[in-house]
């Protein structure tokens, strides 16, 4: 599904170029659940944001399904992202001024889904994640686990084929973390969603099918 060839990410600094990622070659197949691990500053999150098409300032080749991402322009990349990718953040990043239902509606509104259809999809999603009772609450009225559950629901509401998660349990206590990881496993096995997560926890990494390790911006174990 994803193929990276000789991918590098360089930050030009006053003191000289800084290689956040260096010559990464990686393949992730459809239906895989991959965990990226490594010490702080090893380039995990940078790699995840490149996979999620948030960052476009890299060199090398990136193939997403049959599409050569490195040949795409800005707008085509944005379309590819909207159509295929969902993202989960460590800090949840829910919009404080919107209710749970409205937070779920946001990605759909950017995909030009008609209003009635949006509302139907949001209702289904709320039901699927058992958060119907929270639909009119604001993020500040939810616990951390509940917020991350909404974050996962929001990432999946537009039915992406690839789910990217940046330390999704980093701000949760262990019980809540396990619930989220169980959910990931279910989504991967039952719904066939390809998942790539960044994690520091070997326990969480064990939920996946493969571990990719990074150190100093280089792939050390795949």
């Amino acid at each position: 599904m994803l193929t990276l060839r000789h991918l590098s990410r360089v930050y030009p600094l006053k003191s000289g170029p800084y290689f956040a990622l260096r010559n990464i070659n990686l393949e992730i197949k459809e239906g895989e659940f991959v965990s990226i691990m490594g010490p702080s500053g090893s380039g995990k999150s940078t790699l995840l944001h490149i996979l999620g098409l948030h960052d476009s300032e890299w060199e090398g080749e990136y193939q997403f399904a049959d599409t050569d991402v490195h040949r795409l322009g800005k707008s085509a990349r944005a379309d590819l992202q909207k159509k295929n990718i969902g993202f989960i953040f460590q800090a949840y990043h829910l919009i404080d001024d919107l209710t749970v239902a409205e937070n779920l509606e946001v990605p759909l509104s950017y995909r030009n889904v008609p209003r009635k259809e949006r509302q139907a999809i949001v209702c289904d999603t709320l039901d699927r994640f058992h958060i119907v009772g929270k639909r009119d609450l604001f993020p500040s009225q939810l616990s951390g686990g509940q917020q991350q559950l909404v974050g996962v629901a929001r990432a999946l509401v537009a039915h992406p084929t690839l789910l990217l998660a940046d330390e999704p349990t980093g701000n949760l206590h262990s019980d809540q973390g396990h619930e989220i990881m169980e959910l990931f496993r279910k989504l991967n096995r039952e719904d066939g969603v390809t998942i790539v997560q960044v994690t520091h926890s070997i326990e969480n990494a064990d939920y996946g099918s493969r571990i990719v390790r990074l150190a100093d911006g280089m792939l050390v174990n795949n």
């Binding site: 999150s45 940078t46 948030h54 953040f89 990043h93 946001v106 950017y110 537009a158 940046d166």
Partner: protein
């Protein structure tokens, strides 16, 4: 879009304080713009309420001795009408006062009417509301029918809207006139600036006034306003070229009276309220529009600053939205919708504010005798302007913050959290806004100072006479059909009785009061004219006065004698001239005993006295030649009673009115006011400077307040942003004083940059606009220094408050929160 609108409304409902500050800030800016635009629209933008108003032009003349565009003589009008093929139709009219009465025994009342060529209504395609309009059969030449078409206002005010008014006989100047119709409500007069009571054909002039028909015959009496309607497709340039040729012909044909005369054709709406001020009034209006636009600019910069601060606080939201698929355009649209919603609310509030304050502004100008048209015209141009200004304010204040805030760096902001979004460039943008605010507010402050100082200078200028403790009252014996002898007896009796009133020091009479609209102007022909008078004549001002007038007014006698009781209708015509007259006509010679004719081949008038030159028409006028003749040797038109009192002149208003009423209960008396009131409200004296000073001061205070608010919010926001840094510094030993100095330095740095830019801008603008100032330079050091001092002082206070708050930062609390 509806989704964005809903979000915007909710965001604003969540932050009522922020919304209120933004709405009020913009509303003040919008309100002052709407108010000033209302004035400008009434004067210059509204067309006459007639079909094809864009084709209506004013045909005027200039001459060497009278270089501003002015009215023309009736014979000239007739020649133009015959010769100008570019005009589809032409008409002449003249506003004049009249005494309107009925036969029911009630006293006549003074009103203004327009005497117009009888084809005037047809020429402009004006249909009557009742009856008929004037028609050619009513007569253009002397001997026409004594008929009148009432204006809608006259019909309502004087005759209670009587539906049976057509066919009734009323008295105009004590003569019977038949009402033949009522003009439509929107048509207030051929001069849209006025709201007259009726229209009389030129043929009825001799019925209306003694010697009225002479006004239709005198070639050298420029007293008629002429309107022309251009033929469809004819350009103004073509009409002007044709008028130049026709005028050259007139100059050739009437060389004795028309030397140096040229034509000036002006679109009607550019010649208000009088063609004489057509050259500079639009520029003045543009200046005030520009100044209020600056106030709006300051308000927009202020709001933009608030929006940047708010966008910074919402950076996380924008980042997440971008990460979820929002394009930059969608983010910009969302923020612009918010600022447009705020601007729309501000537009409504601003419109309400302007509606409430417009009457207050109008009240500053007291109504004189001239019936100024108070109808503001259709509301849609002003409403459209308010909507446009609101839209501009919404986009102007919201666009840059939206563009900045939508430029999100997803990777770093998602990794590092919401604080990562506030970069140096965003601070620079805020700094730029503050610098602009300070700059513009200094500009409006400086102009407030310049106008105020101008007004002070104008008040202290030597006008050549004593204006204090003077009461004025006007009446018109000619309109009341007094003969010469009864009029003389009336005046003598009046002066005797008024001088006997307690509290009266002296009293006199004059045909024209300084700075009033009724000054007489004439081309006089001196005996043995100097070579400098190319055509042997010169344009001078004149007034007929009662004995002792010069002394009563306080004119400084230079030579000869004053006019006195020995100057009667039967003695030789004499005059007292001013020094400018003597210098113009007999430079370096003794003027006493010299003679001049008041018009070509007129009677010789001998100079018996010379007084110092005073101000007669405008404060800023160059020394104007002027002469006084005895009232006893020629009394025509209005008479102004001037009463010098020992105390407050206003107290004498009632006794003076009673004295006049005792002499003739049917004589309308008008313009009873003090000289100081008259000068304050005269377009030719203090009114422009007074309005300028007031409007500039309001704008100055608003601008300063808004700029200070902007500066305060920037410094306060900076302190809030740097609270962690300040906490660390204090934990490391920084003293409260050093923190205070550092925060103050940042705010004052912006103020200083803005002040320098504002000074330069003020100086450049001041040089351009110095013609509107009186007796001073736009580079007046006192005003510039005072403006800078006020701005710096207030800015220092605005910076000090948040700086002081910064010194109270508790490092333990801040760092624990981190």
């Amino acid at each position: 879009m509806l989704h964005d609108l809903r979000l915007a409304l909710r965001q604003l409902a969540r932050s009522p304080g922020y919304a209120a500050v933004v709405v009020l800030t913009l509303a003040f800016g919008i309100a002052v713009n709407t108010n000033i635009f209302g004035f400008v629209s009434t004067f210059f933008l509204q067309r006459m309420p007639v079909p094809d108003a864009d084709r209506v032009v004013l045909v005027t003349q200039r001459s060497e001795s009278w270089p501003t565009p002015h009215a023309i003589s009736f014979p000239d009008f007739q020649d133009y009408r015959e010769r100008l093929r570019s005009m589809e139709s032409m008409l002449a009219y003249q506003p004049m006062p009249a005494h309107l009465g009925t036969d029911d025994g009630r006293a006549a009342q003074r009103a203004w009417i327009e005497v117009a060529t009888p084809g005037a209504f047809t020429a402009l395609a004006i249909a009557p509301q009742l009856g008929r309009v004037l028609v050619p059969a009513d007569g253009e030449a002397a001997g026409g029918a004594p008929v009148i078409v009432l204006s809608h206002r006259g019909w309502q005010q004087r005759f209670g809207g009587d539906p049976a008014i057509v066919g009734r006989t009323i008295r105009v100047n004590n003569r019977p006139f038949t009402v033949v119709g009522v003009a439509p409500e929107r048509f207030t007069g051929f001069s849209p600036f006025l709201a007259v009571h009726g229209f009389v054909p030129t043929g009825a002039l001799d019925t209306l006034r003694a010697n009225g028909s002479g006004m239709l015959e005198w070639r050298n009496a420029p007293m008629w306003r002429v309107l022309g309607k251009l033929r469809p497709g004819t350009t103004l340039a073509a009409a002007r070229a044709e008028a130049d040729i026709a005028t050259a012909q007139l100059v050739r044909e009437h060389a004795s009276t028309h030397q140096g005369v040229s034509a000036a054709i002006i679109p009607e709406h550019r010649a208000r309220p009088d063609p004489m001020v057509a050259d500079f009034l639009p520029l003045l209006a543009l200046f005030f529009l520009g100044q209020v636009a600056l106030v709006l600019l300051i308000a927009c910069a202020n709001v933009a600053n608030l929006m940047i601060a708010r966008a910074a606080a919402r950076q996380k939201e924008f980042t997440v939205r971008a990460a979820l698929g929002a394009s930059r355009g969608r983010l910009v649209r969302q923020m612009l919708v918010e600022s447009l919603v705020l601007a729309a609310v501000a537009g409504v509030v601003g419109w309400l504010l302007s509606t409430w304050t417009a009457p207050l502004l109008s009240a500053l100008v007291q109504q004189g005798d001239l019936p100024v048209n108070q109808d503001p015209g259709p509301a849609w141009p002003i409403n459209l302007f308010t909507a446009a200004v609101s839209l501009v304010a919404g986009i102007g204040s919201g666009l840059l913050p939206a563009l900045r805030a939508s430029r999100v760096d997803l990777v770093s902001q998602l990794k590092e959290g919401p604080g990562a979004g506030i970069g140096r460039s965003r601070h620079r943008l805020r700094d730029m806004f503050v610098v602009n605010q300070v700059m513009f507010s200094l500009v409006v402050l400086v102009f407030a100072g310049l106008f105020t100082r101008s007004l002070q200078r104008a008040r202290s200028v030597d006008i050549g006479f004593r204006s204090e403790r003077l009461l004025l009252a006007s009446f018109d014996l000619t309109l009341q059909r007094y003969g010469d002898e009864p009029a003389r007896q009336f005046c003598a009796a009046l002066l005797e009785r008024v001088r006997a009133l307690p509290g009266v020091e002296d009293a006199s009479l004059t045909s024209s009061t300084p700075f009033d609209y009724s000054i007489g102007m004439r081309d006089v022909f001196p005996e043995n004219p100097p070579p400098s008078l190319r055509y042997g004549s010169t344009n001078v001002g004149c007034a007929a006065v009662a004995p002792g007038f010069e002394h009563m007014l306080g004119l400084q006698a230079l030579a000869g004698r004053p006019l006195d009781a020995t100057d009667t209708a039967t003695t030789r015509p004499v005059a007292v001239i001013n020094a400018a007259f003597a210098e113009r006509c007999w430079p370096g010679q003794d003027a006493l005993g010299r003679r001049f004719q008041p018009w070509r081949d007129g009677p010789w008038i001998e100079v018996v006295g010379v007084v110092a030159t005073a101000k007669y028409m405008m404060l800023s006028e160059a020394p104007r030649p002027f002469y006084y003749t005895p009232l006893a040797q020629g009394l025509e038109g209005p008479v102004n009673l001037l009463v010098r009192t020992t105390g407050d002149p206003a107290v004498l208003a009632a006794p003076v009115r009673s004295t006049l009423a005792a002499l003739d209960p049917n004589l309308p008396v008008y313009n009873v006011r003090t000289m100081e009131e008259m000068m304050a409200n005269s377009l030719f004296a203090f009114l422009p400077l007074r309005m300028g000073a007031l409007l500039s001061s309001i704008q100055g205070v608003l601008g300063l307040g808004l700029a200070v608010l902007g500066l305060y919010s920037v410094v306060a926001f900076g302190v809030a942003q740097r609270s962690r840094e300040i906490g660390i510094r204090m934990a490391l030993g920084a003293s409260a004083g050093s923190v205070l100095r550092e925060v103050l330095r940042e705010g004052l740095r912006l103020t200083l940059v803005g002040t320098v830019a504002g000074l330069l801008f003020s100086i450049v603008l001041g040089i351009v606009l110095s013609k509107f100032l009186f007796g001073m330079s736009a580079l007046d050091p006192l005003v510039l220094c005072a403006g800078v001092a006020v701005l710096l002082g207030v800015a220092a206070v605005a910076c000090f408050v948040p700086a002081r708050r910064a010194t109270r930062t508790d490092p333990a609390v801040v760092l624990r929160a981190e």
